[in-house]
Symmetry: C2
Subunit: 158 residues, 2 copies
């Protein structure tokens, strides 16, 4: 059904050991579940969780399959496998760009509707959370996230 969620309660005091690993996991899983739910409620019941590998930032619109594989750090075969499914379901297509005969990946109108559903869900979450923790605090939170994600990409930090 959905992703395993952690236990029913997080202890108020998270002492000695740094538990931000667990916290990140919980929040991230929650976002995923909400996104998947939003997509399904938008009428795309055949969209599977695994498809997020393709339908995530950066979107594959106009990208080559091999480039996609490199960015998502999957094998070309795995990308091919998911793309075939998504093409079958009508969310993407592989066709040649004008003037070229290289086949590239493009989102179909249905694919763009998925993206719209995801964005709508995220905007709603953004709003909800801004309200719950305070707009300024949440904006700071996202700023730190942005900074950390940039660090995380560096060659091999440390």
């Amino acid at each position: 059904m959905s992703i395993p969620l952690p236990p029913d309660s997080i202890p108020d005091a998270l002492p000695g050991p740094p538990f931000f690993g667990a916290l990140l996991r919980i929040v991230w899983q929650h976002v995923r579940e909400r996104m998947l739910q939003a997509i399904h409620e938008a009428g795309f019941a055949d969209f599977q969780e695994a498809h997020f590998a393709v339908f995530s930032f950066p979107l594959p619109d106009g990208m080559r399959p091999s480039e996609l594989a490199r960015q998502k750090r999957m094998s070309r075969q795995a990308v091919n496998y998911l793309l075939s499914q998504l093409e079958e379901l009508g969310y993407v297509e592989r066709r040649a760009a004008d003037g070229s005969d290289r086949r590239l990946v493009y989102l179909t109108p249905r694919g763009h509707e998925i993206v719209a559903a995801i964005f709508a869900c995220l905007r709603q979450l953004h709003e909800q959370w801004s309200e719950e923790v305070g707009k300024e605090r949440f904006d700071d939170f996202v700023d730190v996230l942005k900074q950390l994600s940039t660090k995380a990409q560096e060659p091999t930090n440390r």
Copy 2:
């Protein structure tokens, strides 16, 4: 090898659509990779990524398999499957608690070493990040994470 990581660069301007989903994913994946790497470097090369399902907060020490399954939101069979592997590898054992004849899951000494490696890794990351984004900002970040993860557990928020 490791988890697929996102592209090489995150655009400076993340405009209209809220991209904190992607940011959370990137940071969370980075933490996972670091933890796995730390475990492997500590000499436990046979620890697989899937084993995090068991070796995550809350730790299964003294827990019943079915309780574990409920908390991690996996089937009892899946938990059983992972526990069998981990028992084979010497990281957990299933034995009866004193006075009872119900078999419970316990970490072995080797299992506790894995936990120690994870904690050491997280503490190091905590230190590194506190330095990089500023101690106060990072503490605020963790506070918001804590608050959001609590919200995320509520019955069905919204």
